[in-house]
Amino acid sequence: MTTSTTPVVEMTGIGRTFPGPPEVHAVRGVDLSVRAGEYVSIVGPSGSGKSTLLHLLGLLDRPTRGSYRLDGVEVGDLPERRRAALRASRIGFVFQAFHLLAHRSVLENVTLSMLYQRVPRRERAARARAALERVRMSHRVEFSPATLSGGERQRVAIARALVTEPSLLLADEPTGNLDSANADGVLEVFDELHAQGVTLVVITHNDEVSQRAQRRVRIVDGHLSEVTV
């Protein structure tokens, strides 16, 4: 299965060892390729290494072995400054705990991720509003996150991740803090984004969530395996 475009994510033989004692092999021998526009879920029980894999994918951590190409660029050896720049431009994060700044408005929270990329000030508000439109949060632009429901907060966090037009949207247990109704709302947003061509990787321990994805990967004891439907 070859495509004309380079994969967004291309991991070969990735391993991450945490020095002991005892030495922990959180991830070993992982080969993972994600093409543009794919919706992949990585599912596994707690302690299986999925958080470590997320940190590696998101350039928050460095592998101890193997090669990782993001958009065709080998990122394993890049200095921290370049990795921060790549994080800002190529990757959007969605966290279980939302991580919205409590004292800033919804709009300011979305604007935050454009801050470290020198997006001209004039463009920021318009782009943030457009991103909030995509997650159906236009009616809460000037609200404080404290007044929003959990599902709404997570949609704001998704808008914050989308606003920089990242190559890869990384979600870590995006519905972990939500009730089923709110979780459904967030997953619907993911479906819509997938339909719009956004590349999505969702990490979860929840089978229902993972089943929404077009492609499922299971991680157990640091080993990755494709799940065939």
């Binding site: 921290e80 705990a97 470290y116 000030r121």
Partner: protein, 438 residues
């Protein structure tokens, strides 16, 4: 062998230089990165301001230390300056109201000093007509032609009773101009002066040396064989202490009996604050034709005098203010460190959306700098108000250097920056993974 030794000696310093250079380059690249890459300085400022404004109650607590420190500094300096102004006015009155006029001297080719002009005999009358002059008198040393002074009419064998007591002449107004006090008797009057009466005043020390202890017996002293009636003894003088060692006769007496030809000096006492004015007018009043030939000695301008005093007063106050500021700075460092720990997840998020360690450090540094600046501004205002308040209660004229009001807030900002350095470094060291796990 030799090359080997040099190589061994040279290795360690070279390694240090390399390491130092690498560190410098990293710091420089980080700073340069802040400037040109990915983030405008204005954005950093916005973020810092928002961070400061997010918790108003904490902000008040944070600034409190700097407010107190800067307020203490400004008010102590201000009150110090104000008080110094009062001190000079109160305690240096004797110095501040004395003006003297002498004749300029010019060295002659043969080495002697030649007076260029002569002080007129009626100088005191001319001067007392000036506004601001409260008293004026003339003074001159008298040459008795080798005749010595004695307290008894008859010489003891060998001239043992004779003393080398200096003899001087004064106009009646001199004693008022010197603010002299008398132990006994009275000063001479214009009549003594005009008639050339053989009367003298004795300085306190001269009276002791001549054995004159009481004057109600109308004692006499002798210069050569000439008797002079002692009409008073001078206890103290505000200036020209040589008077206390001398026998002082009226100028008229000195002219008539010893051929006094010239006056040495005119002593003038002015009203408070009039010394500068009188000093300018006195030479013209004394010698309208050649005022430039007279030399006037006047007290320094009040400002100059005040500045000297301020230095002493402020040293202590500055130490107090410095201690207060140190406490304030430690307070900022402490609370900022607390807020770094509280905002771990915010730091993690910022790192995840592309902030470098430098962005994080810069933001926290700027936040504490802003806190320091705010504290400095409020503290300066409080300090100025305190100075004005104390002055109002004491009925003083408030004095405050305007440069202080400008530099004090900047000092606050500097303290904020210094205090924020360690917390900023801690914030920069936060690992995003650990921060986001919460």
């Amino acid at each position: 062998m030799r090359a080997g030794r040099i190589g061994r000696l040279g290795r360690a310093p070279v390694a240090w230089l390399r390491r130092g250079y690498a560190t410098l380059r990293r710091v420089w690249r980080g700073l340069a990165g802040l400037r040109r890459r990915r983030m405008y300085l204005r954005d950093l400022l916005d973020e810092a301001l928002a961070g400061v404004a997010a918790r108003p109650a904490r902000l008040a607590l944070l600034t409190l230390g700097t407010v107190l420190g800067i307020a203490a500094l400004v008010s102590t300096v201000g009150i110090g300056q104000t008080a110094a102004g009062q001190i000079t006015q109160r305690f240096d009155e004797a110095v501040a109201t004395r003006v003297t006029v002498e004749v300029r001297l010019r060295p002659d080719p043969d080495g002697t000093q030649v007076a260029l002009a002569r002080l007129p005999w009626d100088a005191p009358e001319r001067l007392t007509r000036l506004n601001g002059v409260t008293a004026a008198g003339t003074y001159a040393r008298v040459d008795t032609g080798g005749q010595r002074v004695s307290g008894r009419p008859v010489d003891e064998p060998g001239g043992a009773g004779r003393r080398d007591v200096p003899v001087a002449a004064a106009s009646p107004g001199l004693f008022a101009a010197l603010q002299a006090t008398l132990r006994a008797g009275r000063v001479f009057d214009a009549g003594h002066d005009e008639r050339g009466d053989p009367v003298v005043l004795l300085g306190r020390h001269a009276a002791e040396r001549l054995g004159i202890h009481r004057i109600d017996t109308q004692p006499a002293i002798f210069i050569g064989d000439q008797p002079f009636t002692v009409i008073g003894v001078v206890e103290s003088v505000g200036a020209r202490a040589e008077v206390l060692d001398s026998v002082v006769m009226p100028v008229g007496t000195a002219r008539a009996r010893y051929g006094l030809t010239a006056l040495d000096v005119v002593e003038i006492r002015t009203e408070l604050g009039a010394a500068q004015l009188v000093a300018g007018q006195a030479p013209v009043a004394i010698d309208p034709n050649y005022p430039d030939l007279l030399q006037v000695n006047a007290p320094p301008r009040p400002g100059e005098l005040r500045r000297d005093v301020i230095g002493d007063v402020n040293a202590l106050f500055l130490v107090l203010g410095g201690v207060a500021l140190l406490v304030g700075g430690l307070g900022i460092a402490n609370v900022t460190l607390l807020s770094v720990l509280e905002r771990i997840s915010e730091i993690g998020l910022r790192r995840a959306v592309g902030a470098t360690r430098w962005h994080i450090a810069g933001q926290f540094l700027l936040e504490s700098g802003i806190v320091g600046l705010l504290g400095g501004l409020v503290g300066t205002a409080v300090g100025v108000l305190a100075t004005v308040g104390v002055s109002a209660v004491r009925e003083w004229t408030p004095l405050l250097d305007p440069r202080l009001a400008v530099t004090a807030p900047l000092l606050g900002a500097l303290i904020g920056l210094l205090a924020g350095a360690y917390p900023a470094w801690r914030a920069a060291a936060v690992e995003p993974i650990a921060a986001l796990r919460a």
